[in-house]
């Protein structure tokens, strides 16, 4: 019983973490057909911005959280204006943006190294405290991450489904020309997606850097894991990505608890490979068409 509680808790927590990172990646892919390899850099931008607020300016961590999210969103916007927008719709868009986002990522990591140094840091918890359920330690910060993730997933789905701007994002991703004939400003819609996605990565950065250590390269692993989850869920499908995040998180957690930590990663990968052989477009990726 204790093991089961441990596995479920770990699964939901890790799934929420994966999801926070992966939804942003999938949004950008769905709307712009762009693989954003600077997503991990937005993660550390958020985390370091929050750390600077707390450690240097002695502000409460909630202010740090807010600044972190804004800093990451702003970085995404600047990256979009400087590197993505000029090549939109031009031949070679895929390679140009792939290289540009890697470049932005390296530059931001180097900046973090210069400003904060190579030593690992810890961002304080937004909520301290913990209690035990059936032998499993439940932290308040963990509960917060889960709550924030679930609320955001619901909010993003509602936004895409019902709001004017959310519908415009789907319209642009499905039929760009028609969207522009419906008076949708395509470039501004892309900018909204970039800001939203980067802000989500920044939020994940602030929340997760209290569990894990923060270093200039600590955005890389969450990004790769998010990328795997995104491909598994069906690139560009927000709902698929969210489901995939919890499936992968829960599977990994159960394997870890019942078979040992060394089985978790190989087990998860084996499962994903088998599913992708059966469904090459991922869980929810019904061919090319099924997108946002």
């Amino acid at each position: 019983m204790a093991e089961f509680v441990q596995a479920v808790w770990g699964g939901i927590l890790v799934g929420s973490v994966y999801g926070l990172m992966a939804v942003g990646l999938t949004l950008i892919w769905g709307a712009l057909r762009l693989l954003n390899l600077a997503h991990g850099a937005m993660f550390i931008v958020g985390a370091y911005a929050a750390l600077a607020m707390v450690a240097v300016l002695n502000l409460p961590i909630l202010a740090g959280l807010l600044v972190g999210v804004i800093a990451a969103g702003l970085s995404g916007f600047i990256m979009h204006v400087v590197f993505i927008r000029p090549v939109l719709g031009k031949p070679g868009f895929d390679t140009a943006t792939l290289i540009a986002t890697v470049g932005v990522s390296i530059a931001l990591q180097a900046a973090a190294l210069l400003v904060f140094g190579p030593s690992v840091k810890v961002v304080p918890e937004v909520m301290a405290g913990s209690f035990t359920v059936g032998g499993t330690l439940i932290t308040a910060q963990g509960l917060l991450v889960i709550a924030v993730a679930v609320i955001l997933f619901v909010a993003i789905n509602l936004f895409l489904r019902f709001s004017r701007h959310g519908m415009a994002i789907r319209a642009v991703s499905q039929q760009m020309e028609a969207a522009s004939l419906m008076a949708v400003p395509v470039e501004r819609t892309y900018a909204i997606v970039m800001v939203l996605s980067s802000a989500l990565a920044g939020l994940a950065g602030v929340l997760l850097s209290s569990f894990f250590y923060l270093s200039p390269i600590s955005g890389f692993n969450p990004m790769i894991q998010a990328l795997i989850v995104t491909i598994f869920g069906g690139l560009g499908s927000v709902r698929g990505t969210i489901v995939a995040a919890y499936v992968v998180g829960t599977l990994g957690s159960f394997l870890q608890v019942y078979l040992g930590a060394s089985w978790a990663l190989p087990g998860v990968f084996l499962f994903i490979i088998v599913v992708l052989i059966a469904r090459p477009n991922g869980l929810f990726g019904l061919a090319e068409a099924r997108r946002l």
């Binding site: 004017r164 519908m167 415009a168 789907r170 319209a171 499905q174 039929q175 020309e177 028609a178 969207a179 522009s180 004939l181 419906m182 008076a183 949708v184 400003p185 395509v186 068409a289 099924r290 997108r291 946002l292």
Partner: protein
């Protein structure tokens, strides 16, 4: 309402339109007739901003809109219902219609606009929750026109509404366009076939090899059998 002067346009390296002069007045139905591949779609795509003209000017509703972005032209009230419908395939019929009302000012009145469009195409009511990609050709065409009507258009550009449709459905589509015209909305229609458009059109232009070679009233057009035989088969 719309005034096009000496418009030259085309694609990289090749000019398709070699100096188009054309007017559409208030409440007027104007048809551009011509065989495939002579520049009808290119003309409409230039007018709605999807293609930038090489030279010439487009004036619409008192403004020079030459070279404007398509979203700004659409917001100004020049609404293009494109060839091939270009629906949003993974959105429902209702969502497709709502996208037509995207412009902030129109969005506030989307409920009234929706009622208006559903009156014209009552068939859409039953299908409102269906995904656009699951519709038949005729249904898609009606949705495309309905979506264009959701915008607060001052002039509608319609590109070959009969393309790929069975004759029975074609008649219904032209009847709906006729009903739209009767509401006083000016229409610029590009078509291959003169038979259907005579009742909609006050005037017609003949487009050949990227040039408007003749302008006439709709009656003249239908009576001139040599002309019909030559240009329109």
């Amino acid at each position: 309402m719309l005034e096009v002067t000496d418009l030259h346009a085309g694609y990289a390296g090749s000019e398709v339109l070699h100096g188009i002069n054309l007017q559409v007045g208030d409440g007027e139905g104007v048809v551009v007739l011509g065989p495939n591949g002579h520049g009808k779609s290119t003309l409409l795509r230039v007018l709605s901003g999807l293609i930038r003209p090489h030279s010439g000017t487009v004036h619409f509703d008192g403004q020079d809109i030459t070279g404007w972005r398509p979203d700004l032209i659409a917001a100004a009230g020049l609404v293009h219902i494109p060839q091939g419908d270009l629906l949003f395939p993974e959105m429902t019929v209702l969502e497709n219609l709502l996208m037509g009302a995207y412009d902030r000012r129109v969005w506030k009145e989307r409920k009234q606009r929706l009622e208006h469009v559903l009156e014209l195409f009552p068939w859409l009511i039953e299908r409102r929750e269906q995904l656009a990609r699951s519709l038949s050709g005729g249904e898609r065409r009606m949705l495309a026109i309905g979506r264009g009507l959701m915008a607060q258009a001052k002039l509608l550009l319609i590109d070959e509404p009969s393309l790929g449709l069975a004759p029975a459905i074609t008649e219904r589509i032209y009847a709906s366009i006729g009903a739209i015209k009767h509401t006083g909305l000016p229409i610029l229609l590009a078509d291959e076939n003169a038979n259907h458009v005579a009742e909609l059109a006050d005037r017609a232009y003949l487009l050949e090899m990227g040039l408007l070679v003749r302008e006439c009233s709709a009656q003249e057009l239908l009576q001139d059998e040599t002309l019909l035989a030559t240009y329109l088969g």
